[in-house]
């Protein structure tokens, strides 16, 4: 469903992606792990055209990703994104955040969008927060609203860019719980994360990225429990046993 082939990307003189080739099948949950600055987030941002890429090919459902072509809107409504810093619209309520896309991009009738919006907020456990503004919500609640906003577009896949990295530790579980349920329901997900427990339990596959290349990939349990490459072994040792 999402195909990347030999994708290169530089920021100025620094090459952050040095030939990434990967694919994500429908219904699959793929976690991307690796040290900071390895290019993980850039891969996600290239998939929905928030970032351009210099060489190679990215396609979603056979449609080439080109951020300057009109078709990018089509891709973005099929592939939603959840950000590390939530990026909710602070001047709108939780419910308004969720229905913004359906109402103004997809031109859904208001009554229908409202009904679905409320159902989605209930799905992420925030039915009673519909009329709250983002600054009145905790980080975990904001991120769950952001997930509801992504779901409201009825996407075929969702990209998660370190969705729990900006959260207090005790709020991480709520967000991961919602994501786990999505995975169980068959949503296609690409998740950049440092939560190795989540990757091991929920992901079908794990890509380990370092220095802009995929160092190792495979079934989640294999890569995380018996890593083959020394760099993967070293990274996992440091993440899992920081002391």
């Amino acid at each position: 469903m999402i195909e990347l082939s030999d994708v290169h990307k530089s920021f100025g003189k620094v090459e952050v992606l040095k030939g990434i080739t990967a694919s994500v099948a429908k219904g699959e949950v793929v976690c991307i792990v690796g040290p900071s600055g390895s290019g993980k987030s850039t891969i996600l941002r290239c998939i929905n055209g928030l970032e351009s890429y210099d060489r190679g090919d990215i396609s979603v459902e056979g449609l080439k990703v080109d951020r300057d072509a009109p078709s990018i809107v089509n891709i973005r409504t099929q592939v939603s994104m959840v950000f590390q810093r939530f990026n909710l619209f602070p001047h709108r309520t939780a419910l308004e955040n969720v229905i913004e896309g359906p109402l103004f991009v997809k031109k859904e009738p208001r009554a229908q969008a409202l009904e679905r919006g409320r159902a989605l907020l209930a799905q992420v456990g925030l039915a009673e927060k519909a009329d709250a503004h983002p600054p009145q919500l905790s980080g975990g609640q904001q991120q769950r609203v952001a997930i509801a906003r992504a779901l409201a577009m009825q996407p075929k896949a969702i990209l998660f860019d370190e969705p729990t990295s900006a959260l207090d530790p005790e709020l991480v579980g709520d967000v991961l719980g919602v994501m786990r349920k999505l995975a169980d329901d068959g949503m296609t997900m690409v998740v950049v994360t440092h939560e190795m427990g989540f990757a091991r339990d929920v992901a079908d596959r794990v890509l380990f990225i370092d220095g802009g290349v995929i160092v190792e990939q495979g079934a989640a349990k294999t890569v995380l429990n018996q890593p083959q490459h020394p760099r993967t072994q070293d990274f996992l040792r440091r993440v899992l046993h920081p002391l």
Binding site: L50, T77, S80, M81, R85, G101, V105, R149
Partner: protein
């Protein structure tokens, strides 16, 4: 003091005619400068190089010309080019254009103060440039822009007196005419100053309200 109140009662009605024109010039040029300023600001942040450069040079040209020269140009030079404007039209046009440069810079600062993540969130749900502006960026920028906008309103009210140089009989010119025919300079100009001040006070309070509101959240 007794003389002042006597003079005030006598001149007040005539000066009120000036006040009416002052208000017309202020509101007219405020509206024009707001619309033009928004257009320059949108061109500036459009991401299209030609538009943004055109807008930047326009703003610099406008900023570099004194308001009074702009007014003379519109009122005395334009007729030579076949465009005749009434004094009032020239005043509103001149002040509106002059202030559009400051409005544009103010609006641009407000737009650029919006977190980049907001724009990415809008794009990620499929919004195009204009929808992102209308639904996400501008509503948030308004809060930031309002306090300086209020200050521009106060400056405009006072600068509307420059219209007197091209014969618009607003408050300042009306006062000058009375003073030069009655020689009661003290009474007349004190009264004129008090009338400007009276008009400014609601605007000053409005700015304070905007600042308080922007300070929340």
């Amino acid at each position: 003091m007794k003389g002042f109140w006597h003079d005030a009662a006598e001149f007040f009605p005539i000066l009120m005619n000036g006040v009416a024109l002052t208000i017309v010039v202020t509101i007219g040029s405020l509206l024009l400068s707001t619309v033009l300023g928004l257009i320059w600001a949108m061109m500036r942040v459009s991401g299209i190089k030609a538009l943004s450069m055109l807008s930047a040079s326009l703003i610099n040209v406008i900023r570099g010309i004194p308001i009074i020269v702009l007014l003379f140009y519109l009122y005395f030079v334009m007729p030579d080019l076949g465009v005749t404007l009434s004094a009032l039209q020239a005043a509103i046009l001149g002040l509106g254009i002059a202030y559009s440069a400051y409005q544009a810079e103010n609006f641009r600062a407000g737009i650029e103060a919006i977190d980049k993540g907001q724009i990415e969130a809008a794009q990620s749900i499929g919004m195009g440039w204009w929808l992102t502006m209308r639904r996400v960026v501008l509503p948030q920028a308004v809060r930031i822009v309002l306090p300086p906008y209020g200050n521009v309103m106060i400056m405009m009210l006072k600068d509307s007196s420059q219209a007197s140089t091209i014969t618009v009989a607003e408050l300042a010119l009306q006062g000058k005419l009375i003073a030069s025919s009655t020689f009661k300079n003290t009474s007349v100009f004190t009264l004129v100053a008090l009338m400007y001040l009276t008009m400014s006070i609601p605007l000053i309070l409005l700015v304070r309200h905007f600042e308080k509101r922007a300070g929340k959240r």
